[in-house]
């Protein structure tokens, strides 16, 4: 039984982590492609259309990876988490089915038109199909996060005698206080990823002295989108999220922040340290006094309950995991804002394209938004453990009762092998497209 739970969790964690590398770029990049296409329609400068077309190639590849790794996610609710599906399907089945009906059809129908229909449709309709792809991908994010929000903060349900969750208020699924901050925070995270990718490719061209015109356009666009999104990522959306956790899951909040002792006169913010859960303390602590109280409640001396205030039975399963995930995310988020600020200043002074060290940094930053997005999700998911539905249904009670651990390990190994192959192919082909660079065409 222990093994079954372990392999089921590993398989879900592995497949969702790998999967989400792709949609985060899909959602952010679709916005930026729509921007390039819109600039082209407004200015009639071919360069913008060529930029849109170049990023569409990466987008198409990335989208295909997202689709093929996404279908296993929906199936795994049933294959590996049958008990969870049986008990909660009456509630979260709503939002998951809506995702299929409202967003996947929209995305996939118009992606075909967007990729192959430029000549057939004309420029304005082509822009519209791109916009609809963007809308579909964001709608998908919205409905998935509505599902996620219900698991974090269940609303609009009642529980029958046989343990089944039954929906009794459809509207509550969408007015869930968890939903809007989580959605906005997540979407900003995905725009950060796409901004950094676009800027990194631009920096690569500039440093390489190849496709310099596009290099400048990509760096500029990436830096402006990157500055706006990384600021919005922290404030107000990240701030709002953290306050939600502090209010509704205070013990998770304490674990995220690494607070063991409740301090009188206000809580410090931990910058560095290793949680020692056995002895209930933080080793090698570097902290700034009172900041956490201020950030959370706008009062320097507000009380924040430490882990020691709670009974161990309500602790998150993996406190160091939650703590590290959260600190990596916040640390990276802070670096993103700093880097984009510097780059923006240089851009404003018209020196960015010659400031080599900033360009090198932008190029090497490419993987880090992916890490930040992933650790952000780990914070949310590990923070909820041992619960599948917070305080109501344990993860251990959600697995498929008849699927043995040997069968799950078999499929987990299969997924690992197959996804390794997919990852290699993606990097190889994306690298090839980037190295070849955008092509210039004349329309006007």
């Amino acid at each position: 039984m222990e093994d079954m739970l372990f392999y089921d969790r590993m398989q879900f964690a592995f497949t969702i982590t790998f999967h989400y590398l792709f949609p985060q770029l899909t959602m952010g990049l679709s916005l930026m492609i729509v921007f390039f296409k819109w600039k082209f329609l407004r200015t009639k400068i071919d360069k913008y259309n060529d930029a849109a077309k170049f990023w569409m190639k990466i987008f198409a590849l990335n989208f295909a990876m997202g689709v093929v790794t996404g279908i296993p996610m929906e199936f795994q609710f049933g294959t590996n988490w049958a008990k969870f599906s049986e008990l909660t399907g009456g509630v979260i089945g709503q939002t998951l089915a809506m995702e299929g009906m409202f967003s996947f059809f929209l995305e996939s129908s118009f992606l075909g038109l967007f990729l192959f229909g430029e000549k057939l449709l004309g420029q304005k309709l082509h822009f519209l199909t791109g916009f609809l792809v963007f809308l579909g991908s964001w709608a998908s994010g919205y409905l998935i996060i509505a599902t996620h929000s219900w698991m974090q903060y269940p609303v609009g349900y009642e529980i029958l005698e046989n343990g089944k969750f039954v929906l009794n208020n459809f509207g509550a699924l969408f007015s869930n206080p968890w939903l809007l901050p989580a959605f906005l925070h997540n979407q900003m995270g995905s725009v950060v990823t796409s901004s950094f990718v676009v800027a990194a490719v631009g920096a690569f061209y500039l440093l390489n002295n190849k496709h310099s015109d596009f290099g400048k356009l990509f760096v500029k666009t990436g830096v402006i989108f990157g500055l706006i999104s990384s600021v919005l990522l922290a404030f107000p959306t990240g701030d709002w999220m953290a306050k939600n956790v502090a209010e509704h899951q205070p013990v998770t909040f304490a674990a995220m922040e690494g607070i063991f002792e409740t301090e009188e006169g206000g809580a410090e913010i931990i910058l560095f340290g290793q949680p020692d859960v056995e002895n209930k303390k933080l080793d090698n602590k570097i902290a700034v006094p009172n900041i956490l109280s201020f950030l959370t409640y706008q009062k320097w001396d507000a009380e924040i309950k430490g882990l020691n205030e709670f009974d161990e039975s309500v602790y998150p399963t993996n406190i160091p995991g939650v703590y590290y995930a959260y600190h990596i995310m916040v640390g990276l988020g802070t670096i993103f804002i700093g880097l984009m600020l510097i780059a923006s200043v240089q851009l404003f002074r018209k020196k960015l394209y010659k400031t080599k060290w900033v360009l090198w940094t932008l190029m090497f930053m490419l993987p880090f938004p992916y890490i930040a997005n992933t650790t952000g999700w780990y914070t949310a998911e590990l923070g909820r453990q041992p619960w599948l539905v917070y305080n109501l249904l344990k993860t251990a009670d959600g697995i498929s009762p008849t699927v043995s651990s040997g069968n799950t390990l078999f499929t987990l190994l299969g997924f690992i092998g197959l996804y390794l192959l997919l990852g290699l192919l993606f990097l190889m082909l994306a690298g090839k497209i980037i190295n070849k660079g955008p092509e210039t065409t004349k329309i006007n």
Binding site: K57, A60, L61, A64, V67, V68, T69, G70, I71, P72, E74, F75, F77, G78, T79, N80, A82, K83, S85, E86, G89, G90, G93, Q94, L96, A97, M98, E99, G100, M101, F102, F104, F105, L106, S108, S109, L111, G112, L113, F116, G117, L120, L160, K164, V166, L167, F170, S400, P401, T402, V403, S404, N407, F410, T411, G414, L418, L422, L425, L429
Partner: protein, 358 residues
């Protein structure tokens, strides 16, 4: 309410089989009959802008099943664990076969992805046929051994096969001679369907040859269907009781045979879409006949201890099902509009779409 969602799901599943079915069929044709680069281009152009949207129907069926019949979703997805995960892997190979082939111009690269696309399509057609076979045959719900349930009455797990490949033992496998027969029917039917789609949507040099292929395969299909009807009673003692009690249901078997007999005239069709129309009739009729033959069961039990799963004992509660009608109606209209736009833009022959060219 349950009946409404049952019809919705069967209809969506049928649409999925008709749409992605032509993709699988195109893959099978690609594997066995496409010799030249021109042939291959014609085939991938004919399905290129569609396959992804077609696959969404499968995801949507899964989602609506989860929402409307959560117990059935949980029971069948965990019980058919291994083949379902393998279907996912095959769908990945089908997709990357199509999408990655054109990324690098190199003989070996192209051969690898051509085969991935073709073989995955073939196996998918086989697996989906086998899946249908499993549903009609039923499973050992509650995993009864010696008259005692070892699991909750609606859960089960099937290995890929048992040593006897018999559909009548206590401990069944996914693949036995009965389900394999349905799998082969799936492959033949979808090969015909895919060939018809290619004839419909391209001006390929392959088309004349494909008409002959359809004509010949159609004999095979007819023989297999008749064979399956003759042995059906071994699996289900009274296979036609629903049709006898509700005579209008005969329309579905009728459609099936109309599809097959229509296709014998494939060589003399004037309109290129006629063949596709008839194979669509066959698929709709065949799938609907099979599914209604076990109504109201959705997954029969093969033991006497636990009752079969019916649409009434696996459904979500009334409130959820009723609310769902509202958003589903809106979504269905939108999906209709998308499909209209999509097939309107890519109407007629698609030889010049340029799928997979960079």
């Amino acid at each position: 309410m349950e009946l409404f969602w049952y019809i919705v799901i069967v209809a969506m599943l049928t649409i999925y089989v008709v749409l992605d079915g032509y993709d699988f069929g195109a893959g099978i044709i690609h594997l066995f009959f496409a010799k030249t680069e021109k042939d291959k281009k014609a085939i991938t152009n004919a399905i290129g802008p569609f396959w992804d949207a077609n696959e969404v129907w499968l995801i949507a069926v899964g989602g609506v099943l989860f929402f409307a019949f959560p117990t059935l979703y949980a029971s069948s997805f965990s019980g058919f664990y291994l083949p379902l995960i393998m279907i996912l892997w095959l769908l990945i190979f089908r997709a990357i076969g199509l999408e990655l082939r054109g990324q690098i111009h190199n003989k070996i690269w192209e051969t690898i992805w051509d085969k991935a696309f073709g073989i995955a399509s073939l196996l998918l057609a086989l697996f989906f046929g086998i899946a249908l076979g499993n549903i009609v045959r039923g499973v050992n719900l509650g995993m009864v051994t010696d008259g005692v349930s070892t699991q909750e009455p609606h859960f089960f797990f099937l290995p890929l096969w048992n040593p006897t490949f018999s559909p009548q033992t206590e401990h069944l496998g996914i693949i036995d001679w009965f389900t394999l027969l349905l799998g082969i029917i799936g492959v033949v039917a979808l090969a015909i369907h895919g060939a018809n789609w290619i004839i419909f949507k391209t001006n390929s040099d392959l088309n004349e040859q494909l008409k002959k292929v359809v004509f010949r395969l159609n004999f095979v299909l007819l023989a297999l269907v008749i064979a399956s009807l003759l042995i059906w009673h071994i699996i289900e003692p009274k296979p036609f009781h629903n049709f006898i009690e509700t005579p209008w249901l005969w329309i579905f078997p009728l459609l099936t045979f109309a599809g097959i007999f229509g296709l014998f005239k494939v060589k003399s069709f004037r309109k290129h879409g006629m063949g596709f129309l008839f194979s669509t009739l066959f698929l709709i009729g065949g799938l609907a006949s099979t599914v209604v033959s076990i109504f109201p069961n959705v997954l029969p039990s093969t033991n006497a201890v636990n009752p079969s799963l019916t649409l009434y004992n696996v459904a979500a509660e009334d409130y959820g099902l009723t609310v769902g009608v509202y958003w589903f109606a809106i979504a269905a209209v939108l999906v209709g509009v998308y499909m209209f736009v999509q097939y309107r833009v890519f109407k007629g022959k698609m030889d010049d779409v340029g799928y997979g060219e960079h």
